[in-house]
Symmetry: C2
Subunit: 457 residues, 2 copies
Amino acid sequence: MNIHAVLEELRPLLGDRLSTADAVREHHSKGEGYHPPARPDAVVFPTSTDEVAAIVSACARDKVPIVPYGAGSSLEGHVNALHGGITIDLSRMNTLLRVSAEDMDATVQAGVTHRQLNRHIEKLGVAFFVDPGADATLGGMASTRASGTAAVRYGTMREAVLGLRVVLPNGCVISTGGRARKSSSGYDLTHLFVGSEGTLGVITELTVRLHPLPEAVSAAVCSFATLEGAVRTVITTIQYGIPVARIELLDEVQIDAVNKYAKLDYPAMPTLFFEFHGTSERHVIEQAETAQSICTEHGGTSFQWATKPEDRARLWRARHDAYYATLALRPGSQGVTTDVCVPISRLADCVLETKRDLASSSLITTLVGHAGDGNFHLIYLVDPERPAELDEAKRLNDRMVKRAIEMGGTCSGEHGVGSGKMLFVELEHGDAVDVMRLIKRAIDPDNIMNPGKMIRV
Amino acid sequence: MNIHAVLEELRPLLGDRLSTADAVREHHSKGEGYHPPARPDAVVFPTSTDEVAAIVSACARDKVPIVPYGAGSSLEGHVNALHGGITIDLSRMNTLLRVSAEDMDATVQAGVTHRQLNRHIEKLGVAFFVDPGADATLGGMASTRASGTAAVRYGTMREAVLGLRVVLPNGCVISTGGRARKSSSGYDLTHLFVGSEGTLGVITELTVRLHPLPEAVSAAVCSFATLEGAVRTVITTIQYGIPVARIELLDEVQIDAVNKYAKLDYPAMPTLFFEFHGTSERHVIEQAETAQSICTEHGGTSFQWATKPEDRARLWRARHDAYYATLALRPGSQGVTTDVCVPISRLADCVLETKRDLASSSLITTLVGHAGDGNFHLIYLVDPERPAELDEAKRLNDRMVKRAIEMGGTCSGEHGVGSGKMLFVELEHGDAVDVMRLIKRAIDPDNIMNPGKMIRV
């Protein structure tokens, strides 16, 4: 690679939107995960698809690695520039290009974040419901097939993305998908690029699906004597087909953390947070009443409703603070976050066996889950100065991932693979990884797109 | 290619499940579309994935073309053996391998049909809601990304397929996807194979998503003074976010055909058929009342409820008979079916401009639509002995497809590309077709899988 030639070519195009400053490179050397940082040689801040195409074309000619970068909230080392090269920071491509409340879709540049999008479209009576904890960019969310608390009802980025604009590794620009709600025309390139983590091209624009703001909303919190009771409540709620909008599980350690962090007073017990969306108040009440009776059957010791917007906001703020609340349990520690997902019928087994593993570990660990999807996270708090603690967290995670895969689940529910889970992808998908490699090599023969991520080429 | 060597190799394995009989080859030379038949050299009837792998391996060695065949209900020439070779008829792979009402999923062999699956799972309180008119096999439905009347609420095969077992063009067997409800692990091969029309491999097993049978169901029919009123009712219903399970449009010609065919007496006017699913009777009534008021606003002249199962069955039988009812309007004619899909906001424009085109044509044409998805079909009745009529149907279809694409829509909502729409795929997807070609060549370098379909290699 000849990085200098590329930088000389790009400087006239980008001016001060090309940086080789130490602080900028350092900032772009890592996400929020535990993975060792790795700096790019330079960072560029394009504002249009054409600029991205020019950057990629220059890199392609000299085989310079490219790392696409959104909000930097990756937890699996996606944005660490393992082989140097150029990081393309898309955060300045943050224009909403088109919103249609009629068709319930929007087209945005890849640097638009999910909260930014929702602020703009709320007044139109529509919402975008994929809500990872960080205010991630939609491009980054598409790249990791992200989801969040409302996926149980509204789906993940897999369901939310209708079409993409992508700069290919050779600098060509293509459009995938379209605005029709369904299509049987051609290979489904949209779904191929969603979740491809920047290894096949740079997503520069997205068309996403919106949903009507619900006519009626209510929320509820319920504490449980046992974690098993809480998990079995989730399973039954899903199996009854209650169209719950959110159903989140927090274990007693996580609740304690949230209480301390936000000065709240939830009982320090395994807890479920619910949200119900309906076409009418009656419809919401029906759902909540059914959920309440399921809670009671499974040892729920309280069922507090929150119908007022401010009460609901406080409740969900507590949930969204979970990660930072956990970190505050041990100041100076690094959070190591895990992310398995299993068929809902196996969720209790997976959670309880995992908790038994934790009982013999000295690490402080919280559990929080998008339980309605069969997806849950542990956050291990490790001291960055003590490598043995990270090793212990990895050992425990390894056991949990293998358990989830044996149960028909996946090594990653929503955080992606990055550099952290490449071996798990092979364990999970077996020979299908050979097909992934064929595709990677066909589209990116020089392996310039985010090398060292997703699959071993 | 050396077809004889392949047949000699396979005969001991398959015995009388390998046929070169004229009648068998003729039966497998076409689907239900208007495309000229083309016979394979032989037809095989495997009963296991291992047998399919052996068949494909033998064909691969001698570069013999392979055509996967399900129920033969393709409308776009998918199963016509344009280059001869071996047709793999999967209809004897019709075993339900696993059903889980708890996880609402099932794993089936590719030859299981959607009605067969529903007959088996109904007693478990779950249903599979993708329902093309023909009793197609699930493998075929996955291959064409099929949908049906309930896609507006429950999605298409794109949403329904969780994972696949696929025999690759080199004879290797892979599994894609999994049973977790979401995953961020690896490239999304499941969605790549769904809709690939047998051009990348042979689907031998599928894991599909089920849904709870609704607690409450009702249906309704409403006639409209104008087609525009009917279409605008659909648009408003969708934009209100009413979770309608089915909303089907039939024009006055189609209604007349249905009346004659099934001795019914619907007013010969543009008509909507509705079905509502809910968690309770109240919830269903709420939906239906809202829909009724929308109908009234748009000139609906009646709104007849059908709450009894037998009344609903009669209503939907009328809808499902639409194709055969149309054929009966002109005995001996061939139906040429079209299939565009546009963003819902453009549906009225697309339908009305298309109807204006028809006004200047002498062909008898019916219109039926999964209007809630923005998807509608015309059926042109042409005399097979008069090529000018087929030319006329193609000319009209050409105009309609281009119109749909200009409106942000797609050349195929659910029937697929086959050999019939390859040029439209290029028009719709532009340079993205180059990426499709890269993938095709990487996975099937000798172009043995269903050659002459989907994309020009």
